[in-house]
Protein backbone atom coordinates (compact mmCIF):
# COMPACT_ATOMS: atom_id res chain seq x y z
CA UNK A 1 0.00 0.00 0.00
CA UNK A 2 1.24 3.49 -0.77
CA UNK A 3 2.11 5.04 2.60
CA UNK A 4 1.62 8.56 1.18
CA UNK A 5 -2.12 7.96 1.29
CA UNK A 6 -2.03 8.10 5.11
CA UNK A 7 -1.36 10.60 7.85
CA UNK A 8 1.11 8.79 10.08
CA UNK A 9 0.12 9.53 13.69
CA UNK A 10 2.86 7.44 15.32
CA UNK A 11 4.91 4.31 14.56
CA UNK A 12 1.83 2.06 14.35
CA UNK A 13 -1.15 4.37 13.66
CA UNK A 14 -2.04 5.22 10.06
CA UNK A 15 -4.97 7.55 9.53
CA UNK A 16 -7.06 8.24 6.44
CA UNK A 17 -8.65 11.66 6.79
CA UNK A 18 -12.35 11.75 5.88
CA UNK A 19 -13.05 12.53 2.24
CA UNK A 20 -16.06 12.13 -0.05
CA UNK A 21 -18.88 10.31 1.72
CA UNK A 22 -16.75 9.29 4.73
CA UNK A 23 -18.39 10.29 8.02
CA UNK A 24 -15.34 9.52 10.17
CA UNK A 25 -11.65 8.81 9.55
CA UNK A 26 -10.31 5.31 8.91
CA UNK A 27 -7.42 4.13 11.06
CA UNK A 28 -5.15 1.16 10.42
CA UNK A 29 -2.85 -0.09 13.20
CA UNK A 30 0.30 -1.72 11.81
CA UNK A 31 4.04 -1.29 11.61
CA UNK A 32 5.55 0.07 8.42
CA UNK A 33 6.33 -3.36 6.90
CA UNK A 34 2.87 -4.76 7.60
CA UNK A 35 1.05 -1.78 6.12
CA UNK A 36 3.32 -1.64 3.09
CA UNK A 37 2.45 -5.29 2.37
CA UNK A 38 -1.28 -4.80 2.92
CA UNK A 39 -3.57 -5.06 -0.08
CA UNK A 40 -4.94 -1.73 -1.43
CA UNK A 41 -8.36 -3.29 -0.97
CA UNK A 42 -7.96 -2.92 2.82
CA UNK A 43 -7.71 0.85 2.31
CA UNK A 44 -10.76 0.86 0.06
CA UNK A 45 -12.83 -1.31 2.40
CA UNK A 46 -11.87 0.61 5.57
CA UNK A 47 -12.90 3.81 3.74
CA UNK A 48 -16.22 2.26 2.66
CA UNK A 49 -17.05 1.27 6.24
CA UNK A 50 -16.40 4.89 7.31
CA UNK A 51 -19.31 5.92 5.05
CA UNK A 52 -21.97 3.88 6.88
CA UNK A 53 -24.66 5.74 8.86
CA UNK A 54 -24.18 6.22 12.60
CA UNK A 55 -20.53 5.12 12.67
CA UNK A 56 -18.73 6.43 15.76
CA UNK A 57 -15.16 7.73 16.03
CA UNK A 58 -13.47 5.85 13.18
CA UNK A 59 -13.42 2.75 11.00
CA UNK A 60 -10.54 0.59 12.25
CA UNK A 61 -8.38 -2.18 10.83
CA UNK A 62 -6.03 -4.36 12.87
CA UNK A 63 -2.38 -5.16 12.01
CA UNK A 64 -3.34 -8.45 10.31
CA UNK A 65 -5.99 -6.81 8.07
CA UNK A 66 -6.58 -8.17 4.61
CA UNK A 67 -9.03 -7.92 1.75
CA UNK A 68 -12.37 -9.20 2.95
CA UNK A 69 -15.88 -8.91 1.61
CA UNK A 70 -17.51 -5.61 2.47
CA UNK A 71 -15.62 -4.94 5.69
CA UNK A 72 -11.90 -5.61 5.63
CA UNK A 73 -11.09 -8.83 7.49
CA UNK A 74 -9.85 -7.62 10.91
CA UNK A 75 -12.16 -4.59 10.68
CA UNK A 76 -13.75 -2.95 13.74
CA UNK A 77 -16.59 -0.41 13.65
CA UNK A 78 -19.06 0.83 16.27
CA UNK A 79 -22.49 2.29 15.56
CA UNK A 80 -24.85 4.39 17.67
CA UNK A 81 -28.50 3.29 17.35
CA UNK A 82 -29.69 6.77 18.33
CA UNK A 83 -27.82 8.34 15.45
CA UNK A 84 -29.22 6.11 12.73
CA UNK A 85 -26.49 3.53 13.37
CA UNK A 86 -26.60 0.28 11.44
CA UNK A 87 -26.01 -3.39 12.02
CA UNK A 88 -24.33 -5.20 9.14
CA UNK A 89 -24.49 -8.92 8.37
CA UNK A 90 -21.40 -8.41 6.20
CA UNK A 91 -19.68 -6.66 9.11
CA UNK A 92 -20.00 -9.81 11.20
CA UNK A 93 -19.28 -12.29 8.42
CA UNK A 94 -20.56 -15.75 7.64
CA UNK A 95 -18.92 -17.62 10.47
CA UNK A 96 -20.78 -15.85 13.25
CA UNK A 97 -18.94 -15.97 16.59
CA UNK A 98 -16.01 -17.86 15.18
CA UNK A 99 -13.55 -17.82 18.04
CA UNK A 100 -10.78 -19.42 20.02
CA UNK A 101 -10.63 -21.19 23.37
CA UNK A 102 -7.51 -22.26 25.21
CA UNK A 103 -7.52 -24.90 27.95
CA UNK A 104 -4.72 -25.57 30.41
CA UNK A 105 -3.81 -29.27 30.75
CA UNK A 106 -1.62 -28.93 33.84
CA UNK A 107 0.90 -31.13 31.98
CA UNK A 108 4.46 -30.37 30.91
CA UNK A 109 5.98 -31.10 27.48
CA UNK A 110 7.93 -34.18 28.73
CA UNK A 111 4.65 -35.68 30.03
CA UNK A 112 3.09 -35.46 26.58
CA UNK A 113 5.97 -36.20 24.17
CA UNK A 114 6.11 -39.99 24.71
CA UNK A 115 2.38 -40.16 23.89
CA UNK A 116 2.33 -37.43 21.25
CA UNK A 117 1.53 -39.74 18.33
CA UNK A 118 -1.19 -41.67 20.17
CA UNK A 119 -2.81 -38.44 21.39
CA UNK A 120 -2.75 -37.07 17.82
CA UNK A 121 -4.42 -40.21 16.44
CA UNK A 122 -7.00 -40.24 19.21
CA UNK A 123 -7.89 -36.55 18.82
CA UNK A 124 -8.16 -37.04 15.05
CA UNK A 125 -10.61 -39.90 15.59
CA UNK A 126 -12.63 -38.13 18.29
CA UNK A 127 -12.92 -34.64 16.78
CA UNK A 128 -15.01 -34.64 13.60
CA UNK A 129 -13.12 -32.41 11.17
CA UNK A 130 -13.40 -31.44 7.53
CA UNK A 131 -16.05 -31.71 4.82
CA UNK A 132 -18.19 -34.80 5.02
CA UNK A 133 -17.61 -35.34 8.72
CA UNK A 134 -20.70 -35.60 10.90
CA UNK A 135 -20.86 -35.22 14.63
CA UNK A 136 -22.19 -37.78 17.07
CA UNK A 137 -24.98 -35.35 18.02
CA UNK A 138 -28.23 -34.89 16.12
CA UNK A 139 -30.57 -32.17 17.38
CA UNK A 140 -34.32 -32.55 17.24
CA UNK A 141 -36.35 -29.32 16.97
CA UNK A 142 -36.75 -28.93 20.75
CA UNK A 143 -33.02 -29.41 21.44
CA UNK A 144 -32.20 -27.01 18.61
CA UNK A 145 -34.30 -24.28 20.28
CA UNK A 146 -32.76 -25.03 23.67
CA UNK A 147 -29.23 -24.92 22.24
CA UNK A 148 -29.83 -21.60 20.43
CA UNK A 149 -31.23 -20.07 23.62
CA UNK A 150 -28.78 -21.69 26.02
CA UNK A 151 -25.30 -21.59 24.46
CA UNK A 152 -22.50 -23.25 26.43
CA UNK A 153 -24.86 -23.54 29.42
CA UNK A 154 -27.04 -25.82 27.33
CA UNK A 155 -24.04 -27.96 26.35
CA UNK A 156 -23.06 -28.30 30.01
CA UNK A 157 -26.62 -29.32 30.96
CA UNK A 158 -26.36 -32.09 28.36
CA UNK A 159 -23.20 -33.36 30.02
CA UNK A 160 -20.85 -31.98 27.35
CA UNK A 161 -18.89 -29.52 29.42
CA UNK A 162 -18.06 -28.21 32.85
CA UNK A 163 -19.94 -25.46 34.67
CA UNK A 164 -16.62 -24.09 35.96
CA UNK A 165 -15.96 -23.00 32.36
CA UNK A 166 -18.81 -20.50 32.26
CA UNK A 167 -17.16 -17.53 33.95
CA UNK A 168 -14.31 -17.82 31.45
CA UNK A 169 -16.48 -17.77 28.35
CA UNK A 170 -17.55 -14.49 26.78
CA UNK A 171 -21.06 -13.56 27.99
CA UNK A 172 -20.61 -16.21 30.70
CA UNK A 173 -21.42 -18.82 28.08
CA UNK A 174 -24.87 -17.51 27.21
CA UNK A 175 -25.56 -14.63 24.84
CA UNK A 176 -28.57 -12.70 26.07
CA UNK A 177 -31.17 -11.53 23.56
CA UNK A 178 -30.93 -14.62 21.36
CA UNK A 179 -34.15 -15.27 19.47
CA UNK A 180 -34.19 -18.83 18.12
CA UNK A 181 -37.44 -18.16 16.24
CA UNK A 182 -35.60 -15.57 14.12
CA UNK A 183 -33.36 -18.36 12.83
CA UNK A 184 -34.75 -19.86 9.62
CA UNK A 185 -35.64 -23.52 9.24
CA UNK A 186 -32.92 -23.81 6.62
CA UNK A 187 -30.27 -22.54 9.03
CA UNK A 188 -31.49 -25.00 11.67
CA UNK A 189 -31.49 -27.83 9.15
CA UNK A 190 -27.90 -27.00 8.24
CA UNK A 191 -26.93 -27.33 11.91
CA UNK A 192 -28.91 -30.45 12.77
CA UNK A 193 -25.90 -32.78 12.61
CA UNK A 194 -23.06 -30.29 13.00
CA UNK A 195 -22.79 -29.80 16.76
CA UNK A 196 -19.38 -30.84 17.99
CA UNK A 197 -17.71 -30.56 14.58
CA UNK A 198 -14.63 -28.52 13.82
CA UNK A 199 -15.30 -27.49 10.22
CA UNK A 200 -12.55 -26.83 7.71
CA UNK A 201 -10.42 -24.03 6.26
CA UNK A 202 -8.45 -22.29 8.98
CA UNK A 203 -10.24 -24.08 11.83
CA UNK A 204 -8.21 -26.38 14.04
CA UNK A 205 -7.64 -28.02 17.37
CA UNK A 206 -4.05 -27.79 18.57
CA UNK A 207 -2.03 -29.16 21.44
CA UNK A 208 0.57 -26.49 22.14
CA UNK A 209 3.53 -25.86 24.38
CA UNK A 210 4.27 -22.54 26.08
CA UNK A 211 7.53 -21.62 24.32
CA UNK A 212 8.15 -18.09 25.59
CA UNK A 213 6.83 -15.84 28.33
CA UNK A 214 6.74 -12.07 27.74
CA UNK A 215 4.93 -10.94 30.87
CA UNK A 216 5.64 -13.16 33.87
CA UNK A 217 3.10 -11.44 36.11
CA UNK A 218 0.15 -11.82 33.74
CA UNK A 219 1.30 -15.31 32.70
CA UNK A 220 1.18 -16.26 36.37
CA UNK A 221 -2.37 -14.98 36.70
CA UNK A 222 -3.34 -16.85 33.51
CA UNK A 223 -1.72 -20.02 34.90
CA UNK A 224 0.91 -20.24 32.15
CA UNK A 225 4.53 -21.30 32.67
CA UNK A 226 7.28 -22.33 30.25
CA UNK A 227 6.80 -25.83 28.77
CA UNK A 228 3.21 -26.05 29.95
CA UNK A 229 0.93 -27.89 27.53
CA UNK A 230 -2.35 -26.28 26.48
CA UNK A 231 -5.15 -27.20 24.07
CA UNK A 232 -6.51 -24.52 21.73
CA UNK A 233 -9.63 -24.80 19.59
CA UNK A 234 -10.53 -22.43 16.73
CA UNK A 235 -14.00 -22.75 15.22
CA UNK A 236 -17.41 -21.10 15.07
CA UNK A 237 -21.14 -21.53 14.58
CA UNK A 238 -20.78 -23.93 11.65
CA UNK A 239 -23.55 -24.21 9.05
CA UNK A 240 -26.10 -22.35 11.17
CA UNK A 241 -24.07 -19.15 11.25
CA UNK A 242 -23.17 -19.45 7.58
CA UNK A 243 -26.82 -19.74 6.60
CA UNK A 244 -27.94 -16.84 8.83
CA UNK A 245 -25.17 -14.70 7.33
CA UNK A 246 -26.19 -15.68 3.80
CA UNK A 247 -29.89 -14.96 4.33
CA UNK A 248 -29.53 -11.61 6.10
CA UNK A 249 -26.85 -10.42 3.71
CA UNK A 250 -29.36 -10.77 0.90
CA UNK A 251 -32.24 -9.25 2.84
CA UNK A 252 -30.15 -6.28 3.98
CA UNK A 253 -28.64 -5.72 0.51
CA UNK A 254 -32.14 -5.41 -0.89
CA UNK A 255 -33.62 -3.48 2.06
CA UNK A 256 -30.82 -0.89 2.35
CA UNK A 257 -32.43 1.14 -0.46
CA UNK A 258 -35.71 1.28 1.44
CA UNK A 259 -33.89 2.74 4.42
CA UNK A 260 -32.19 5.32 2.22
CA UNK A 261 -28.76 3.81 2.85
CA UNK A 262 -26.32 4.31 0.00
CA UNK A 263 -24.09 1.21 -0.05
CA UNK A 264 -20.62 1.85 -1.50
CA UNK A 265 -20.36 -1.96 -1.87
CA UNK A 266 -23.31 -4.37 -1.79
CA UNK A 267 -21.42 -6.64 0.56
CA UNK A 268 -21.67 -3.91 3.20
CA UNK A 269 -25.35 -4.82 3.36
CA UNK A 270 -26.76 -3.31 6.54
CA UNK A 271 -29.93 -1.99 8.12
CA UNK A 272 -30.65 0.50 10.89
CA UNK A 273 -30.28 -1.12 14.31
CA UNK A 274 -33.73 0.26 15.13
CA UNK A 275 -35.47 -1.42 12.20
CA UNK A 276 -37.42 -4.64 11.80
CA UNK A 277 -34.71 -6.44 9.80
CA UNK A 278 -31.95 -5.05 12.04
CA UNK A 279 -33.67 -6.40 15.14
CA UNK A 280 -34.42 -9.75 13.54
CA UNK A 281 -30.79 -10.09 12.50
CA UNK A 282 -29.58 -9.28 16.02
CA UNK A 283 -31.90 -11.93 17.47
CA UNK A 284 -30.73 -14.55 14.97
CA UNK A 285 -27.06 -13.56 15.21
CA UNK A 286 -27.14 -13.82 18.99
CA UNK A 287 -28.65 -17.31 18.65
CA UNK A 288 -25.71 -18.15 16.36
CA UNK A 289 -23.32 -16.85 19.02
CA UNK A 290 -24.89 -19.35 21.42
CA UNK A 291 -24.43 -22.06 18.80
CA UNK A 292 -20.71 -21.24 18.56
CA UNK A 293 -20.28 -21.13 22.34
CA UNK A 294 -22.05 -24.49 22.65
CA UNK A 295 -19.98 -25.97 19.83
CA UNK A 296 -16.65 -24.97 21.36
CA UNK A 297 -17.80 -26.24 24.77
CA UNK A 298 -18.61 -29.63 23.20
CA UNK A 299 -15.30 -29.78 21.33
CA UNK A 300 -13.56 -28.91 24.60
CA UNK A 301 -15.41 -31.81 26.20
CA UNK A 302 -14.17 -34.20 23.49
CA UNK A 303 -10.61 -32.99 24.06
CA UNK A 304 -11.05 -33.55 27.79
CA UNK A 305 -12.21 -37.12 27.12
CA UNK A 306 -9.07 -37.85 25.14
CA UNK A 307 -6.75 -36.33 27.75
CA UNK A 308 -8.56 -38.15 30.54
CA UNK A 309 -7.91 -41.42 28.72
CA UNK A 310 -4.15 -40.81 28.50
CA UNK A 311 -3.83 -38.97 31.82
CA UNK A 312 -6.55 -40.31 34.13
CA UNK A 313 -7.90 -37.67 36.48
CA UNK A 314 -6.41 -34.90 34.35
CA UNK A 315 -8.52 -31.77 34.27
CA UNK A 316 -8.43 -29.37 31.33
CA UNK A 317 -9.11 -26.00 32.92
CA UNK A 318 -10.47 -23.31 30.61
CA UNK A 319 -8.23 -20.24 30.37
CA UNK A 320 -10.68 -18.32 28.19
CA UNK A 321 -13.07 -18.56 25.23
CA UNK A 322 -13.40 -15.47 23.04
CA UNK A 323 -15.03 -14.80 19.68
CA UNK A 324 -13.79 -12.69 16.80
CA UNK A 325 -16.79 -12.43 14.42
CA UNK A 326 -19.55 -10.63 16.29
CA UNK A 327 -21.66 -7.54 16.77
CA UNK A 328 -22.04 -6.75 20.47
CA UNK A 329 -23.81 -4.01 22.40
CA UNK A 330 -21.09 -2.55 24.62
CA UNK A 331 -20.50 0.59 26.62
CA UNK A 332 -17.41 2.56 25.64
CA UNK A 333 -16.01 5.97 26.49
CA UNK A 334 -16.11 8.25 23.47
CA UNK A 335 -14.64 11.72 24.01
CA UNK A 336 -15.09 11.30 27.76
CA UNK A 337 -18.71 10.18 27.55
CA UNK A 338 -20.00 6.61 28.12
CA UNK A 339 -22.04 5.50 25.14
CA UNK A 340 -23.88 2.28 24.29
CA UNK A 341 -22.64 1.15 20.89
CA UNK A 342 -23.02 -1.83 18.59
CA UNK A 343 -19.43 -2.89 18.02
CA UNK A 344 -18.76 -5.00 14.91
CA UNK A 345 -15.63 -7.09 15.00
CA UNK A 346 -14.98 -9.00 11.81
CA UNK A 347 -12.03 -11.22 12.47
CA UNK A 348 -10.93 -9.00 15.33
CA UNK A 349 -10.73 -10.25 18.91
CA UNK A 350 -12.47 -8.47 21.75
CA UNK A 351 -9.77 -7.35 24.20
CA UNK A 352 -11.11 -5.84 27.43
CA UNK A 353 -8.50 -4.21 29.62
CA UNK A 354 -7.95 -4.61 33.38
CA UNK A 355 -10.92 -3.88 35.60
CA UNK A 356 -13.62 -4.70 33.07
CA UNK A 357 -16.73 -5.81 34.93
CA UNK A 358 -17.45 -8.75 32.59
CA UNK A 359 -14.18 -10.47 33.50
CA UNK A 360 -14.08 -13.13 36.23
CA UNK A 361 -12.48 -11.94 39.46
CA UNK A 362 -9.43 -14.13 38.90
CA UNK A 363 -8.61 -12.23 35.70
CA UNK A 364 -10.03 -8.79 36.39
CA UNK A 365 -6.87 -7.25 37.77
CA UNK A 366 -4.84 -8.01 34.62
CA UNK A 367 -7.35 -7.95 31.76
CA UNK A 368 -8.91 -10.35 29.31
CA UNK A 369 -6.88 -13.14 27.66
CA UNK A 370 -6.69 -12.42 23.92
CA UNK A 371 -6.11 -15.66 22.02
CA UNK A 372 -4.28 -15.25 18.72
CA UNK A 373 -3.96 -18.17 16.30
CA UNK A 374 -0.94 -18.37 14.06
CA UNK A 375 -0.32 -21.01 11.40
CA UNK A 376 0.47 -24.70 11.79
CA UNK A 377 4.20 -24.30 11.82
CA UNK A 378 4.79 -20.98 13.51
CA UNK A 379 2.64 -21.06 16.59
CA UNK A 380 0.23 -18.80 18.37
CA UNK A 381 0.19 -16.08 21.01
CA UNK A 382 -1.70 -15.26 24.15
CA UNK A 383 -2.11 -11.54 24.70
CA UNK A 384 -3.88 -9.52 27.36
CA UNK A 385 -6.28 -6.62 26.85
CA UNK A 386 -4.90 -3.17 27.66
CA UNK A 387 -6.73 -0.15 29.09
CA UNK A 388 -5.53 1.87 26.09
CA UNK A 389 -7.34 -0.54 23.74
CA UNK A 390 -10.70 1.08 24.49
CA UNK A 391 -9.69 4.45 23.18
CA UNK A 392 -7.71 2.92 20.31
CA UNK A 393 -10.32 0.55 18.85
CA UNK A 394 -13.21 -0.10 21.27
CA UNK A 395 -11.14 -2.76 23.08
CA UNK A 396 -10.25 -4.86 20.06
CA UNK A 397 -7.10 -6.58 18.88
CA UNK A 398 -5.91 -8.74 16.01
CA UNK A 399 -7.05 -12.29 15.30
CA UNK A 400 -4.13 -14.19 13.85
CA UNK A 401 -1.39 -14.01 11.34
CA UNK A 402 -3.54 -13.12 8.37
CA UNK A 403 -2.87 -14.63 4.99
CA UNK A 404 0.07 -13.47 2.92
CA UNK A 405 -0.75 -15.73 -0.04
CA UNK A 406 -4.07 -16.81 -1.50
CA UNK A 407 -5.14 -20.45 -1.30
CA UNK A 408 -4.27 -20.75 -4.99
CA UNK A 409 -0.79 -19.42 -4.61
CA UNK A 410 -0.27 -21.73 -1.62
CA UNK A 411 -1.49 -24.73 -3.59
CA UNK A 412 0.90 -23.93 -6.43
CA UNK A 413 3.83 -23.63 -4.07
CA UNK A 414 3.45 -26.46 -1.58
CA UNK A 415 2.43 -30.09 -1.37
CA UNK A 416 0.33 -31.03 1.64
CA UNK A 417 2.17 -34.33 2.08
CA UNK A 418 5.55 -32.60 2.19
CA UNK A 419 4.31 -30.03 4.72
CA UNK A 420 3.07 -32.81 6.99
CA UNK A 421 6.47 -34.58 6.71
CA UNK A 422 8.52 -31.40 7.21
CA UNK A 423 6.53 -30.38 10.27
CA UNK A 424 6.75 -33.91 11.69
CA UNK A 425 10.53 -33.58 11.42
CA UNK A 426 10.21 -30.43 13.56
CA UNK A 427 8.12 -32.30 16.14
CA UNK A 428 4.73 -31.00 14.98
CA UNK A 429 2.18 -33.69 14.13
CA UNK A 430 -0.52 -32.67 11.64
CA UNK A 431 -3.63 -34.77 11.20
CA UNK A 432 -6.10 -33.74 8.52
CA UNK A 433 -8.54 -35.50 6.20
CA UNK A 434 -7.24 -33.39 3.32
CA UNK A 435 -3.65 -32.94 2.15
CA UNK A 436 -4.86 -30.23 -0.23
CA UNK A 437 -6.42 -28.45 2.74
CA UNK A 438 -3.04 -28.64 4.51
CA UNK A 439 -1.28 -27.15 1.47
CA UNK A 440 -3.80 -24.29 1.32
CA UNK A 441 -3.09 -23.58 5.00
CA UNK A 442 0.70 -23.90 4.63
CA UNK A 443 2.68 -21.98 7.25
CA UNK A 444 4.37 -20.01 4.47
CA UNK A 445 0.99 -18.76 3.22
CA UNK A 446 0.58 -16.72 6.41
CA UNK A 447 2.17 -13.48 7.51
CA UNK A 448 4.60 -13.45 10.40
CA UNK A 449 2.29 -13.69 13.41
CA UNK A 450 5.14 -12.40 15.59
CA UNK A 451 5.18 -9.12 13.68
CA UNK A 452 1.39 -8.84 13.93
CA UNK A 453 1.26 -9.24 17.72
CA UNK A 454 4.27 -6.96 18.20
CA UNK A 455 2.42 -4.29 16.23
CA UNK A 456 -0.75 -4.87 18.27
CA UNK A 457 1.30 -4.36 21.43
CA UNK A 458 3.09 -1.28 20.12
CA UNK A 459 -0.28 0.20 19.13
CA UNK A 460 -1.59 -0.30 22.68
CA UNK A 461 -4.33 -2.74 21.62
CA UNK A 462 -3.11 -5.70 23.71
CA UNK A 463 0.11 -6.84 25.37
CA UNK A 464 2.04 -10.05 24.69
CA UNK A 465 1.93 -12.63 27.48
CA UNK A 466 3.12 -15.90 25.96
CA UNK A 467 4.06 -17.59 22.69
CA UNK A 468 2.80 -21.09 22.02
CA UNK A 469 4.42 -23.63 19.73
CA UNK A 470 2.30 -26.41 18.22
CA UNK A 471 2.87 -30.08 19.11
CA UNK A 472 -0.24 -31.53 17.46
CA UNK A 473 -2.61 -29.91 14.97
CA UNK A 474 -5.96 -31.43 13.97
CA UNK A 475 -6.94 -29.55 10.84
CA UNK A 476 -10.38 -29.63 9.26
Amino acid sequence: MDLNRFTRMDATTWRIEPYGAMRVPAIIYADENLIRDMDDKVYEQAVNVAMLPGIVQASYAMPDAHWGYGFPIRGVAAFDPDQGGVVSAGGVGFDISCGVRTMLTGLKVPDVLPLQKSIAESLFRQIPAGVGSTGAITLDPASMEAMLAGGAKWAIRQGWGDSKDLERIEEQGLMAGAEPDRVSDRAKERQRREMGTLGSGNHYLEVQAVAEIFDANVAGVFGLALNDVVVTIHCGSRGLGHQIGTEFLKEMAIAAKDYGIELPDRELACAPINSDVGQRYLGAMRAAINCALANREILGHYARRVFDHFFPGNELRLLFDVSHNTCKLETHAVAGKRRSLFVHRKGATRAFGPGHESLPLALRSVGQPVLIGGSMGTGSYILVGRTTGEEKAFSSACHGAGRALSRHAALKQWSGRKIVDDLAAQGILIRSPSTRGVAEEAPGAYKDVGAVVAAAEAAGLAGRVARLRPLICIKG
Binding site: D95, R190, G245, A253, R403, S406, G437, G476
Partner: protein
Protein backbone atom coordinates in the same frame (compact mmCIF):
# COMPACT_ATOMS: atom_id res chain seq x y z
CA UNK B 1 -12.90 -16.26 -24.41
CA UNK B 2 -9.23 -16.15 -23.47
CA UNK B 3 -9.38 -12.38 -23.34
CA UNK B 4 -11.87 -12.63 -20.49
CA UNK B 5 -9.72 -14.89 -18.36
CA UNK B 6 -8.07 -13.53 -15.29
CA UNK B 7 -4.35 -13.74 -15.87
CA UNK B 8 -3.96 -14.77 -12.23
CA UNK B 9 -6.30 -17.71 -12.52
CA UNK B 10 -4.49 -20.85 -11.51
CA UNK B 11 -7.20 -23.44 -11.82
CA UNK B 12 -9.32 -23.52 -14.94
CA UNK B 13 -11.20 -26.08 -16.91
CA UNK B 14 -11.37 -26.01 -20.71
CA UNK B 15 -12.37 -22.38 -20.74
CA UNK B 16 -15.66 -23.18 -19.01
CA UNK B 17 -14.72 -21.89 -15.57
CA UNK B 18 -11.85 -20.64 -13.47
CA UNK B 19 -10.87 -19.76 -9.94
CA UNK B 20 -9.41 -16.35 -9.29
CA UNK B 21 -7.42 -15.39 -6.21
CA UNK B 22 -8.66 -13.53 -3.16
CA UNK B 23 -6.61 -12.94 -0.03
CA UNK B 24 -8.31 -15.42 2.28
CA UNK B 25 -11.05 -16.91 0.17
CA UNK B 26 -11.52 -17.88 -3.45
CA UNK B 27 -13.22 -16.46 -6.54
CA UNK B 28 -15.31 -18.59 -8.90
CA UNK B 29 -16.12 -17.58 -12.48
CA UNK B 30 -18.13 -19.47 -15.07
CA UNK B 31 -18.37 -18.69 -18.81
CA UNK B 32 -21.13 -19.52 -21.27
CA UNK B 33 -23.16 -18.53 -24.31
CA UNK B 34 -26.03 -17.59 -21.98
CA UNK B 35 -26.25 -16.48 -18.34
CA UNK B 36 -27.70 -19.90 -17.50
CA UNK B 37 -24.68 -21.66 -19.02
CA UNK B 38 -22.29 -19.32 -17.19
CA UNK B 39 -24.14 -20.15 -13.94
CA UNK B 40 -23.79 -23.91 -14.64
CA UNK B 41 -20.06 -23.62 -15.22
CA UNK B 42 -19.55 -21.40 -12.17
CA UNK B 43 -21.21 -24.18 -10.16
CA UNK B 44 -18.54 -26.57 -11.49
CA UNK B 45 -15.93 -24.07 -10.25
CA UNK B 46 -17.64 -24.10 -6.83
CA UNK B 47 -17.33 -27.90 -6.63
CA UNK B 48 -13.66 -27.60 -7.61
CA UNK B 49 -13.11 -25.39 -4.53
CA UNK B 50 -13.90 -28.50 -2.51
CA UNK B 51 -12.48 -31.31 -4.63
CA UNK B 52 -10.41 -31.90 -7.73
CA UNK B 53 -11.72 -35.47 -7.94
CA UNK B 54 -14.50 -36.53 -10.29
CA UNK B 55 -17.98 -36.29 -8.79
CA UNK B 56 -20.36 -38.96 -10.09
CA UNK B 57 -23.75 -37.56 -11.15
CA UNK B 58 -25.74 -40.30 -9.40
CA UNK B 59 -28.56 -38.55 -7.56
CA UNK B 60 -30.60 -35.58 -8.81
CA UNK B 61 -31.59 -32.65 -6.60
CA UNK B 62 -33.74 -29.73 -7.69
CA UNK B 63 -33.35 -26.18 -6.39
CA UNK B 64 -35.42 -23.07 -7.00
CA UNK B 65 -34.46 -19.53 -6.21
CA UNK B 66 -35.49 -15.97 -6.95
CA UNK B 67 -33.83 -12.57 -6.73
CA UNK B 68 -34.55 -9.09 -8.06
CA UNK B 69 -31.60 -9.03 -10.46
CA UNK B 70 -29.28 -11.41 -12.30
CA UNK B 71 -26.27 -10.77 -10.07
CA UNK B 72 -28.17 -11.39 -6.83
CA UNK B 73 -29.71 -14.43 -8.51
CA UNK B 74 -26.21 -15.80 -9.21
CA UNK B 75 -25.24 -15.53 -5.52
CA UNK B 76 -28.58 -17.12 -4.60
CA UNK B 77 -27.86 -20.01 -6.99
CA UNK B 78 -24.44 -20.71 -5.51
CA UNK B 79 -25.85 -20.46 -1.98
CA UNK B 80 -28.61 -22.93 -2.91
CA UNK B 81 -25.90 -25.42 -3.98
CA UNK B 82 -23.86 -24.76 -0.82
CA UNK B 83 -26.98 -25.46 1.24
CA UNK B 84 -27.70 -28.76 -0.53
CA UNK B 85 -24.04 -29.79 -0.19
CA UNK B 86 -24.19 -29.11 3.53
CA UNK B 87 -27.49 -30.71 4.49
CA UNK B 88 -27.19 -33.72 2.19
CA UNK B 89 -23.46 -34.17 2.74
CA UNK B 90 -23.12 -34.38 -1.04
CA UNK B 91 -20.96 -33.01 -3.81
CA UNK B 92 -22.39 -32.16 -7.21
CA UNK B 93 -20.75 -32.62 -10.60
CA UNK B 94 -23.42 -31.79 -13.16
CA UNK B 95 -25.70 -28.78 -13.33
CA UNK B 96 -28.54 -27.60 -15.55
CA UNK B 97 -29.97 -24.13 -15.07
CA UNK B 98 -33.10 -22.49 -16.46
CA UNK B 99 -33.55 -18.78 -15.83
CA UNK B 100 -36.90 -17.11 -16.25
CA UNK B 101 -36.46 -13.40 -15.53
CA UNK B 102 -35.94 -13.25 -11.76
CA UNK B 103 -36.49 -16.95 -11.10
CA UNK B 104 -34.08 -19.82 -11.44
CA UNK B 105 -34.69 -23.54 -11.58
CA UNK B 106 -31.62 -25.70 -11.19
CA UNK B 107 -30.97 -29.44 -11.47
CA UNK B 108 -27.94 -30.78 -9.66
CA UNK B 109 -26.56 -34.30 -9.95
CA UNK B 110 -24.09 -35.62 -7.46
CA UNK B 111 -23.13 -38.21 -4.88
CA UNK B 112 -22.46 -38.41 -1.12
CA UNK B 113 -19.07 -37.09 -0.02
CA UNK B 114 -16.47 -39.87 -0.03
CA UNK B 115 -13.68 -38.47 2.14
CA UNK B 116 -11.12 -40.95 0.79
CA UNK B 117 -11.86 -40.45 -2.90
CA UNK B 118 -12.86 -36.76 -2.97
CA UNK B 119 -10.28 -35.63 -0.37
CA UNK B 120 -12.37 -32.48 0.22
CA UNK B 121 -10.09 -29.50 0.86
CA UNK B 122 -12.49 -27.05 2.44
CA UNK B 123 -16.12 -26.25 2.92
CA UNK B 124 -17.73 -23.22 1.27
CA UNK B 125 -19.55 -21.13 3.90
CA UNK B 126 -21.39 -18.82 1.54
CA UNK B 127 -21.18 -16.90 -1.75
CA UNK B 128 -20.54 -13.18 -1.31
CA UNK B 129 -21.32 -9.98 -3.21
CA UNK B 130 -17.62 -9.20 -3.46
CA UNK B 131 -16.22 -9.17 -7.01
CA UNK B 132 -19.77 -10.06 -8.05
CA UNK B 133 -20.34 -9.63 -11.76
CA UNK B 134 -22.65 -11.20 -14.30
CA UNK B 135 -22.14 -9.68 -17.75
CA UNK B 136 -21.58 -10.38 -21.43
CA UNK B 137 -18.40 -9.30 -23.22
CA UNK B 138 -18.29 -7.70 -26.66
CA UNK B 139 -18.36 -11.18 -28.27
CA UNK B 140 -21.56 -12.05 -26.44
CA UNK B 141 -19.87 -14.50 -24.04
CA UNK B 142 -21.39 -14.37 -20.58
CA UNK B 143 -19.43 -14.64 -17.38
CA UNK B 144 -20.71 -14.99 -13.82
CA UNK B 145 -18.31 -14.47 -10.90
CA UNK B 146 -18.04 -13.77 -7.19
CA UNK B 147 -15.93 -14.51 -4.13
CA UNK B 148 -16.90 -17.55 -2.07
CA UNK B 149 -16.12 -17.53 1.66
CA UNK B 150 -14.39 -20.75 2.69
Amino acid sequence: MASMSDSNAVVASKGRWEHFPHAADVGVRGFGATPAEAFEHAAEALTAVVTHARVEPRHPVEVNCASPDLELLFVEWLNAIIYEMAVRNMLFGRFVVQIDDTRLKGQLWGEPVDVERHAPACEPKGATYTALKVAADSNGTWSAACIVDV
